[in-house]
Each structure stands twice: as structure tokens, then as C-alpha cells.
Subunit: 404 residues, 2 copies
């Protein structure tokens, strides 16, 4: 066991240059020999959690203990080798941080890595670590998974303890992780879900979410739909359904309202006191959040309740997995205009909010490429079916790669 | 004539540390021997005009020529010895710049200098230069004049050419200057207004703006009202009037709308392209500005037209000067909450918008102290009466100081 931090060559600007956080793994655990990185929202004792914003970092004290998830992984033998860059206070899904620079997308040069778990995705995709921790409130694991060609899970809401993590919107916050291969991905899952008695029942029913595929670029739908049919073959039964009687954009609108209100409540006092430097884009989201009325929140909550009921209906009829694109497109170019990113974020949120609003797990699989750029296929399951989703993904990969 | 920049000891953080702009004065001119500083919104050939924001500075080229006003002062013999810190893109009246630090108020330690011409006021109040250039769109010369105990003029709108200046809202923008003494102040005026045929008619009528004094803290009104009576004695006739049939806050509201729209229009493309780092407070103002509707602009323009008509009425009956407090209070403490500054800014804007909405000149005189802190008395005159206002101020000072 070594206690000195290994030197990491970081050609991708994935790691926080101003942190030397390092935790060796306990010998003998199931993850012994693996290295991982943690988005700079996870507490590591003795280090300030920076949250992707220099004023946040400057106005907070070092953490007194490790986040539960970090400690659990280290106890299981994995070595935490560094903190990674995040979008400011996790507000963003593209990964362009104006203070610390944008982590490189090793799979798509000249394009964003996705965010907000940008550095974690970059570090894994670039082979700097075996896996990495992120968080997902509105897509922050699923989007970079899709853009960087990785496995990434938004777990069932509430399943993994969030102690010691700088999060955003409690009723949407989850933590997740990235890996390049399904075997490593599954090993981490067994550790993080070890204390839970999760349902491992095999999925027997696939729903192809027509409205979700219609939101994606045609080339994305074209690339993913044959794979969805393979998933259907594995499960036995497949049907196409429209998830939202209104529109997925309207569903996403409810999350925008509720998540924004929660996000504003979580930092408004700090913002009022510190007057922090944010990118215009991030301030814009907070100002917009501040202006949301209680009546809008009530209406959105009623909308969210209806979404939960509708998705419960979709999941009736046996162990079901819903297939949808992880993102509407592959990674967009770096340096788009603020207004362009805003539009594209909302389009992607229409996909990610299905799991967000219902607390369901969603696993993004590096399934295909469009014009040489990775694109993720998502498996969305019932609450608590996280391990079953991962098992299905493994089965799919084995089958696709000809080993099945 | 020397061309090397003199070393400036700057204990007040008034000057831009990242600029070495310097222009020696032409020998033999009426301002020979005087030194001045220019807010970092005035072009100096070969230097990037930074505007108080590092991303503005990083995305702009060096100026190709000097601003008209800078060139005019240098031609008249004054030496430009440095650029001074400004609120970001002149958006603010308190002078707290999160990127470059807050210039010290030499007259009120622990308190803000006022803004947005913060560094210029600080440099003059601290005796680092003889005078300094600022700009005034919504109070950015008058407020720091009041807080730092200086003479400061918002000139008649349109009187001084604005070529080569990074401004904000064309229908409100003016440039002005600060000095510690009325003699220096007047020398600069004679140079800057030399090409104009300004009305020097002596004021014969003083209006005490009751609604303006009612907005000020009681101690401010108490300190200033005896001095107003002295001004009245000098002019011959004095009367108390309520300026606004609605309220000065409503008048200010019209300026908030119109100025905000113009300010947003002037930078929206740059913001959308660059996604600059601003303090939350500054982004907040731009986001709020972006959301202003055309209908709100139309209503505010109608309101502004009515203000112009009402103030024309007030000025009927001979050469008139309106007396009002320059600010509602002395300089507030450093580090107030964003929400507190917002409220206090609006209260001050109710005073400053009278001149702003009508294009009239307003001269702030370092008239009194409240609890040892400077507070300015303002003389608001008719359009083109700038030199007459300065003459009245000189007469007032001579009379007050016992030399009259």
C-alpha cells in the first residue's frame, strides 16, 4: 500500500490542477487494482470541494470526511487518484467550464465532452483511470456517457447515499459512475449496491419510446433502432409506445421548473452573500430560477405527479425496460453560442427528464457511432432494477460482440 | 517633455495593474502640469480598453487612437498617467469589482468608493492625480463624487463627444470628471467645453426638490438643506417643489427599462458569443434586461417623454437650478449582500434619473459630512448650463468658506 499520489499525465485537462486529493485503496477488496477519479463535488477529507467554481472553493472549508461513496470504493480496494473538473455547481450538460477550461473529449476532438461530470468522463474515455464518479441531476452522467462513448448509470433516485456531496436539487440528485467496459462497470455496481437487496429479475419486455426517438437527429435514431431490436430479441417481447400524451418537451418543462427552484434554494444565500463569478450562462439559469413563482412550482409538481402515473402505466405488464437515445445528437462542437447551447440543452432534457421526473434508473450504453462520433443507447428500468439493467447491458454487449 | 511613465504609488487599488497606458501632456497648454487618470473605458492608442472585465479585455484589440476627450486633455497639456478600475462594463454604482478588487475610498475607510467610475474617484480623492475621467449613465460620476467627497459633473447629454469610449446606453451615456477643488475642476471644464458656445447666464432661481430630499436619509437632508438655502441666497429666489407628480421611484423605473434595453442591445451579441465571466450581480442585470418586452420599452418611453415635459415646466421662469442630494446616503459599507445593494441602487437611481431622463447637467459638490463621511449636494441645471453650474458652485464654495 502506497500513500503517495501517483503522477497522472493529464493531456485531457480532466483533472483539477489545484487539487492533490488522493486516497489509496484498501488491500484485498473486490476493486483492488482499480483506479478511479471523483468529480470535484465529492468530499475528500482535508480538501476543499471546489464544485467547478473558484469562488465556491475560496469560500468553503476543507471537508472533514470522505463522501460515503468515495469511502465505500476505497474500502473496496479502488484507489482515488484525483478530482475532476465539473460544470459550475453541476449546472450544465456540455462540460465547458469558463474558469478551468473544458476537459477534452478523447473520442470526439473539437467537441464537448458533455457535462456536468465532464472531467470524469474525459478521464475514463482517455484511459487515465478505470472508472470515475459523477452525478446526475438532469443528465450529468448520461450525457457525457453518450458523448464520450462510455457506460454511465443514473441510478434509482435515493439508492446510493449522497452524504458528503455538493449537489443541486434534492428531488432529482443522484450519483453515478462511468467505465469503458461493462465488466468494470458491473464490479463497481456490486460494491455500491452491496448493502441493498436489489431485484435482479431478468427483463422480459422492451418498450421502444417513439417520442424519444423522434426527438433525436434522424441519423441517431437510424443508428440506434437496430440495436433496440437486438435488446428486444434478448428480452422476448418488444413494443413501440409514445411515452408522453402531451410531449416530452412539456415533461421536461416540469423538471426545469422544479429542479431550478430546488437549485436556487440550495445556493441563493451563498450567492447573495458572495456575489460569485459565474459564466453568464450559469448566472442566467440562477436568475431564471429565482423568478419562478410558487404557482409555477405547484403546476409543475402536479405535472410531475402525472408523469409518474403515466410511466407507472408504461411499466405495467412485467419486468420492463424502456429504450431511448441517451442524447439527441453526438457531442456538439466546442464554443457554440450561449443561445445555441440553451436550445440544445432543452432538447436533450426532454430525453433525460423521463428518468429524472420518475426517479427511475437509466443506463447509457456506448452503442453506436454517427459520423465517427459516439452515441449512447439508454435502458430505462423500474426503480431498484439497476443491477438487472447492468446485467441486460452485459448480455447485449456479449450478444452484439458475437460471444453470445 | 518626458515619454516614460511616472511610477505611481497606488495604495488605493485605483489603477489597472495590467495597463501601463501613459500619455505626456503637450507643453504650453492651459492644463500643463496637471495629471489625470482615465477610467478603463477610454481608448488609449495601443492599449486594450478593458472595461473592468477580463473577458472583455481578452476578446478585444488594442485601440487604434485616443478617445476624443483624452486627446483633448493631453493636447491641453495634462498628462494621462494611467487607467483606472471600473465596475464591469460600467454596470454598477458602488465600485465593487469582483475581478480586480474594489478601489479604496480614501475618505471613508471600510466603505465603497462608489461606481462605476470607482478607480477614478479613488485616485482623485487619494491625491494620486489632479483630476480623472469617468462616465455617467445612471450615476457613475455623481455617486462616487458624493461618496468620495469630490466635485463631479454629469454634463449635458450630447455635449462632450463620446468617440473612443466603451459606453453602455446611448440615450443616457455621458462622460464627466472628478476633482478635489473647484478651481481645477473649472480649468478642465474650460478645455472640454472650449469649442461650445455655452450659456453662462447666472442662475437666479433655486428649486429645492422636496421629493428628492424625502428619499434621502434624514441626516443627509438635515446636513444639506442649510447649504441649499445658502445657494438660494446667492441666486436670489428659492422655492420648494415636488418634481414628480407620480414619484421619483417611478421616474427611475422608466430609466431602468430604457437604459437596460439599450445596455443589453449594446453587448448581447458579445455575451452570446463569449459567455463571459461576470459577477452574479452583473449577469443578473443583463438577464433582467434581456427579458424586458417591447411593450415595456414603449411605456417607459412615454413615461420618459412626460418626465421631460414636467421638468421643462420646473425650469420655466428664468435661469433655474434644482438642488437635490447626490445620493440618499454616504458610502455604504463594503461587502453588502447583492440584494441589499440592489435595493440601495434603486433608491439612488430615483435621484440620479432626473438628470438621466432629461439629459440635463448635474454637478455634485462635496458639501457636507454625515458621521464623518462625505455627502454630495447636487446642482441640476438646464441643458447647456454646465459652465454656469460650475460658476455657481465656485461662488458657493467661496461664500461658504468665508472668502465671499
Amino acid at each position: 500500500m502506497t500513500t503517495s499520489r501517483p503522477v497522472i499525465n493529464d493531456p485531457y485537462n480532466a483533472f483539477c490542477q489545484d487539487s492533490d486529493a488522493f486516497l489509496p485503496g484498501e488491500p484485498g477488496g473486490p476493486l483492488e487494482g482499480l483506479t478511479f477519479a471523483a468529480k470535484d463535488i465529492f468530499d475528500v477529507a482535508g480538501h476543499v470541494t471546489g464544485g467547478g467554481n473558484p469562488d465556491w472553493k475560496a469560500t468553503h472549508q476543507p471537508a472533514s470526511r470522505n463522501a460515503w461513496v468515495v469511502q465505500t470504493l476505497v474500502d473496496a480496494g479502488a484507489a482515488m487518484v484525483g478530482k475532476t473538473i465539473t460544470d459550475e455547481l453541476t449546472r450544465g450538460i456540455f462540460g465547458e467550464n469558463v474558469h478551468y477550461g473544458t476537459p477534452v473529449n478523447p473520442r470526439a476532438p473539437g467537441r464537448v465532452p458533455g457535462g456536468s461530470s465532464s472531467g470524469s468522463a474525459s478521464a475514463v474515455a482517455g484511459g487515465l483511470v478505470d472508472f470515475a464518479l459523477g452525478s446526475d441531476t438532469g443528465g450529468s452522467v448520461r450525457v457525457p456517457s453518450s458523448f464520450c462513448g462510455l457506460y454511465g448509470l443514473r441510478p434509482t433516485h435515493g439508492l446510493i447515499p449522497l452524504d458528503g456531496i455538493l449537489l443541486q436539487a434534492p428531488s432529482y440528485d443522484t450519483i453515478g459512475w462511468f467505465a469503458r467496459d461493462i465488466e468494470t462497470f458491473a464490479r463497481v455496481a456490486e460494491v455500491l449496491f452491496a448493502v441493498k437487496d436489489l431485484d435482479r429479475t431478468r427483463h422480459t419486455r422492451v418498450i421502444i419510446a417513439r417520442d424519444a426517438f423522434e426527438l433525436a437527429e434522424p441519423a441517431v435514431a437510424e443508428a440506434l433502432l437496430p440495436l433496440v431490436r437486438q435488446v428486444g430479441d434478448l428480452c422476448g417481447e418488444a413494443a413501440t409506445e409514445v411515452l408522453s400524451p402531451q410531449s416530452l418537451a412539456e415533461w421536461s418543462g416540469h423538471q426545469q421548473v422544479l429542479q431550478s427552484r430546488e437549485a436556487w434554494d440550495s445556493v441563493k444565500d451563498w450567492i447573495d452573500t458572495v456575489n460569485p463569478r459565474f459564466s453568464f450562462e450559469v448566472s442566467d439559469r440562477y436568475v431564471t430560477a429565482r423568478e419562478i413563482t410558487d404557482a409555477q412550482v405547484d403546476a409543475a409538481q402536479a405535472g410531475r405527479d402525472a408523469i409518474v402515473r403515466r410511466m407507472d402505466e408504461v411499466f405495467e405488464g412485467g419486468p420492463t425496460v424502456v429504450c431511448l437515445p441517451s442524447t439527441v445528437s453526438p457531442a456538439p462542437p466546442l464554443g457554440q453560442r450561449v443561445s445555441e447551447r440553451h436550445t440544445l440543452r432543452l432538447r436533450n432534457s426532454a430525453l433525460t427528464s423521463v428518468a429524472g421526473n420518475t426517479g427511475r434508473p437509466q443506463l447509457s450504453i456506448p452503442a453506436a457511432e454517427v459520423d465517427g462520433l459516439p452515441i449512447g443507447l439508454s435502458l430505462l428500468g423500474n426503480r431498484g432494477s439497476d443491477l438487472a439493467l447492468i446485467a441486460l447491458a452485459r448480455e447485449f454487449v456479449l450478444s452484439r460482440d458475437g460471444a453470445g
